[in-house]
Symmetry: C2
Subunit: 136 residues, 2 copies
DNA sequence: TATTGTTATACTCTATAACTATA
DNA sequence: TATAGTTATAGAGTATAACAATA
């Protein structure tokens, strides 16, 4: 049975396959892919507001509320008011969040490697570079 | 503002960007990307049932019903009972469907070219090859 | 007046389960 | 018994609009 070769199909199903790998990889840490992405951005240096995090991920601020709610319930992140602008929530990792992000990052690295395992190492690196260049 | 470099993020946003290009490209033909994909599969040779089409696209048979309903309402495809197995619907393009698919294909080709325009021609071809190899 | 976070709401896409008709 | 199509339904995931607090 032939597989469609359109870019839209390929990109969508590449995404599905990667999700199938990262999902189980993250499950032991009680995270899904979206939560991991949010956690990873919050782990970046510099105080970030909910809006900052959402903008880096292309996620609406109303969607961020529930995402941060979930991570806060799991004690992975904490909200505190921004000292200079009390409209903003600064979101930061807790100690537990830092440890979890570290382990989850390794798990996702492995899932990405498995996803790319059909390519030789040079091609795998190239694929990532081309993808970055496309979005840059 | 730094952009996440995780594969999941890159793949998802590449998909979003392509969708933003194919959507307007297909709008003149009254199609969205999903409908175009279905139309393109139905345009392949050989009598195909709804289930066949869905399996090639990774779409559940219950989802196919509504998709084919929509295309039938637009007179782009027609259902007829399979002569040898009356449980099956054979789905085929109408004349209008064939013409529309032809024009829509050109529009999508242009949208894909625009999506890849940030890469040199060789790299664009390479990107598609790597993507196919990953899913193969 | 504009911005951040919040809430309520609605919309899209999809899958699951149960039904029918056929095999 | 199993399969193809259908229907009803429910679950994700997301965005939009309106509101409160703050700037």
């Amino acid at each position: 049975m032939s597989r469609p070769r359109r870019l839209g199909y390929l990109l969508k199903h590449a995404n599905l396959r990667l999700t199938d790998l990262t999902g189980p990889a993250l499950a032991p840490y009680g995270l899904d892919g979206r939560e991991f992405a949010v956690l990873a951005v919050i782990g970046e240096p510099g105080p970030l507001s909910q809006l900052d995090v959402g903008q880096r991920l292309g996620v609406d601020r109303s969607t961020m509320v529930g995402l941060v709610d979930g991570l806060e319930r799991k004690r992975l992140v904490a909200r505190r008011p921004h000292p200079d602008d009390r409209r903003k929530n600064v979101v930061e990792l807790t100690e537990h969040g830092r440890e979890t992000l570290e382990k989850a990052t390794r798990a996702v690295d492995e899932a990405e490697a498995a996803f790319l395992s059909g390519l030789e190492e040079g091609d795998a690196r190239l694929f990532r570079v081309l993808l970055e260049r496309l979005l840059g």
